[in-house]
Symmetry: C3
Subunit: 422 residues, 3 copies
């Protein structure tokens, strides 16, 4: 996964343009993607797909032709969606177009101006020293033309058409955690699910798309899929050293909420649960009142809560392989628990069935039963169609896997029937 | 407000009689009142309007004609509703009719005997010393005759006939906090609401009536209004230095409960929330199972919890202008929040509407939105007809006024529709 | 009660056989029982009534004819349901059939093998010293034959056929707390209820039966009674010095749950409330999803949580008369509260009825009402058919008995009507 990040890091992505296309092309070497192009001007609910932005070159030179800033050095140097310009201007004219982080004088900030025609440069505050009185030549060779918005998706078919949707944004330029980390963890997870021999219970859909306009465009073209979304995760910011943060769905009572909470608790590491708020990433769109899909968000440190956020310090050092792997492991566990979290009907509900005669229970009475036997009693007692295995695991305090295994034994013995809720 | 208290303080009020009439007449100089007279003998649910009580003079003299107690000195000296008497009696005959507070030897207690024919005097325990062996002449020139029970009300019409009812009792004699404080704060609040240029959303009704029999009589004559009561407050005991105490409605889940809780929290001062109990003031009647109107109670220190309660120490010193003003401010804020606490439907519910193109959102991306922008996102996300602005303020932690202003901006932009629940 | 325990202690009980018959016969001298015999082979839901087990003699002798263990010394010496045997065997053959408690070298464990043909001896770990090299003669003169399973019950008829079921197990051999304590407390409680002059509101049923197969058999023969079970308790392990433990019904929201919680709180002693779990005694069967009867469990120290549990140390010293009496007192109180926990409709629901004119309220106003008067106001306010007296006691903080007495006064005054929910 880290290797793929290194490969993707230099590409200048934005919400449209060739950067996204190149990125999706590289990801599709890891897992086959279907690439969608949505033309400029397409209506997407209240929004319109914008013109496509591409950039070749950008710099500021002093009167002597010395390059004071050069886009070739870092993709963050240019405000994303800057209009083309090639002019000579004074310091006073230039200054409002220069963005820095005075508190972090070595870092270049990340800025965008998608929906208002403007241009600008971002640079380390310290580098303002390079600017003497002027005049300066400002050159941005960008283009804003009718084109398209690009996103990619891949589907792993399951036994039902009810979906588990994984969504991540793919529009940020050279920022490692936000969100190359999510892009590569999703690619790896999708690839692994595709390679599984046993068909999963749910259909898995992975979408790589630009933030906000991407999810809005995707939703406007896939509204018929929304009722099939059984669970979803915006899974992003997965490569830093921080603890996991799970942001709940808008109701806070979806199955995905309980599953992720259980999985994070299992990890035994500090993790934080956040109630839904309508600010963040694409979970905003999935949880809007007209969509209301049960989509939560899993990150490590959330957006805006680490100081490297949206700056050049969110780089290849900030993201580390072991954190990507840990994030992948957690997401695989989420899949496992959701897949296994069934609801059953006890087929012998009057009193306990006699487990001993089926070889499921120790035969010498008077001693305490083993954990597996306990788990069978719990599953039998609460398999009244109202309690899922996850809930049984929560009330009993018995590990989900032990509860799941007990249910498998009982299924094999004909003592349970799945509730056909799908 | 304090001036009006000074004016009302010397008047001897009871549950009927000229004291109440004089009091309502003075209040009506501040805000016009409609005065109602309900004849003695009128049935009011399980109760009957009692005979009217008036008193001219009352005293106890010793054998030498020295006045040991004189009603002219303090209205509390006579047990309210004492029957007329003019007799000579011994100390042993007199003693059971004398009420004192041995623990507070300088204070005169307040006692009543509305529903059992009796007579009595209240005096400072220390003044028992004035009584030698007797005999004593006991004289109470009172009258108990067919007359009427008097109450006053004023209405400020709103856009709907759903009402916000303010009820306060007006039957206590020279007691400052209980309840001249409530009488004058209500008068001031009613007067201010009348003077507002903009018509309020709710119709406001203020009632000044005797305690218990007054609210029972009012309810028995206005039962058709009960279903229109959207919210109500018994607002009394508002002039002492103690912290606010809000007593919830019987269910504890009415809108008025949440509104007052929010307002008291906003004040940032220690306030106490009490669950409903069927003892106290007229909230008992409004919350009885057959009425079940959502009426809470706001006081500062509650009845029975300050030592001056129901004694001559609840006087013009115990009540102070700054506390009356603070109480008025809190009640005005309750009105403001209840008026503004609407529920909306997001008219662009599929994903977020594009706020930027409507000038409602900052245009340079990559930075954190401002509080007002946050508030707009919250309102849009939760305007699914199920959440009021107050609830949105509570879950977001954003001040109610900011949420309200954000909703106003969204309304102006056509992005919200009010839920016509009235 | 302790005398009856002493009488029952030496009897060798098991889940079937003459030990249970003798035990029920002795209990029926205290309270008349109806004895039921259910033949071997009878189907009971998923179970089958097993063969009847009886035992005459059992011992192990060394080569010199010295008895190393003798069933005549203690009923626990033989694994319950041991098949008959009379053989000579080596130490290696014998050892797997010997059960000891190495941590408690002086105690004999209690072991059973009801559903797998086997045999064994239980002995103090210290007594393994008696065994030299062997050979040993092993003799168990037991019989496993077609017979029947025996249980006893007694019914105290009430005004309705809705039942309060008390269930206790009667299958353990010489173990004092588990469960002779329950057997005798139930006998005493049943006897006292029978002797009451006033017919109770509920019908009381007491069942003495073997654990697990007993409750399963009882339920399979009485499924039509299940819907009539208004409340139930498995009341066992009632003679040790430990604190009370109440295990809730499966939903945790049955009336019996609230009643027992109130009663234990009233005791003012440390008591513990446990959520339902499907391991324990016969509450497992009553709470299985197909039965779902509201049956909780009251014990002192629960099964498995005292070290004497299922060993010879659970003897006549471990159980003490004062704890039996305290348990009986608590259970009688549970009966009293459940009997008195009615739900009413206030017949004068519009405002408060005038209590004073009915002699129910103090006549001199201005002072605080007494607790009984307070209780009447609470009952009137919450007698809206939705709140039981127990709930009113809980919300008001007024003792249940005071609330009950207030309701009786109001009933006498015609101010309440019972909700005929039965």
């Amino acid at each position: 996964m880290y290797g793929l990040i290194e490969e993707l890091y230099p590409i200048c992505r934005s919400i449209t343009g060739n950067g996204v296309r190149q990125t999706l092309e590289r990801i599709s070497r890891r897992v086959p993607l279907q690439i969608h192009e949505v033309p400029t001007g397409t209506q997407a609910f209240d929004w319109t797909v914008p013109r496509e932005w591409n950039i070749e070159e950008a710099f500021i030179e002093d009167a002597d032709g010395n390059r004071l800033i050069d886009f070739a050095d870092h993709t963050l140097h240019v405000v994303s969606y800057s209009v083309p310009i090639d002019e000579v201007c004074t310091w006073d004219e230039l200054r409002p177009h220069l963005h820095t982080l005075p508190d972090k004088p070595d870092w270049i900030p990340y800025r965008t101006s998608y929906y208002k025609d403007n241009w600008g440069f971002c640079l380390a505050h310290r580098d303002l020293d390079r600017f003497s009185e002027g005049p300066f030549r400002v050159c941005i060779r960008s283009s804003l033309t009718d084109g398209s918005l690009t996103y990619g998706e891949t589907i792993v078919p399951g036994a039902t058409d009810r979906e588990f949707l994984f969504f991540n944004h793919v529009c940020h330029p050279s920022l490692g955690n936000d969100n190359l980390s999510g892009n590569v963890v999703m690619a790896e997870l999708a690839s692994r699910l595709r390679q599984r021999k046993r068909q999963p219970r749910f259909t898995y859909r992975f979408v790589w798309a630009p933030v906000t306009i991407g999810s809005i465009t995707w939703l406007s073209r896939n509204k018929s899929i929304v009722p099939k979304i059984h669970a979803g995760l915006v899974a992003v910011l997965l490569g830093d050293a921080g603890p996991f943060h799970y942001k709940r769905t808008r109701t806070g009572s979806a199955e995905i909420d309980r599953v992720v909470e259980l999985v994070l608790k299992e990890q035994g590491v500090a993790a934080k649960l956040l109630d839904f708020s309508p600010y963040g990433y694409d979970e905003r769109q999935f949880n809007s009142p007209g969509i209301a899909a049960p989509v939560g968000r899993l990150t490590r440190t959330p957006n805006g809560e680490y100081e490297e956020y949206h700056s050049s310090a969110d780089n290849l050092d900030f993201v580390q392989p072991q954190y990507l792997e840990e994030s992948l492991r957690v997401l695989e566990r989420v899949v496992t628990v959701l897949e296994g979290n069934m609801c059953y009907r006890n087929t012998a509900p009057d009193c306990e069935p006699q487990l001993g005669k089926r070889g499921l229970y120790g035969s010498t009475g008077g001693t305490q039963p083993k954990e597996r036997e306990h788990a069978m009693l719990w599953v039998l007692s609460f398999s009244d169609t109202q309690h899922s295995l996850l809930e049984i695991s929560e009330s009993s305090g018995i590990d989900f896997d032990v509860v799941r295994a007990a249910a498998d034994d009982l299924l094999a013995a004909g003592l349970l029937q799945p509730c056909t809720d799908e």
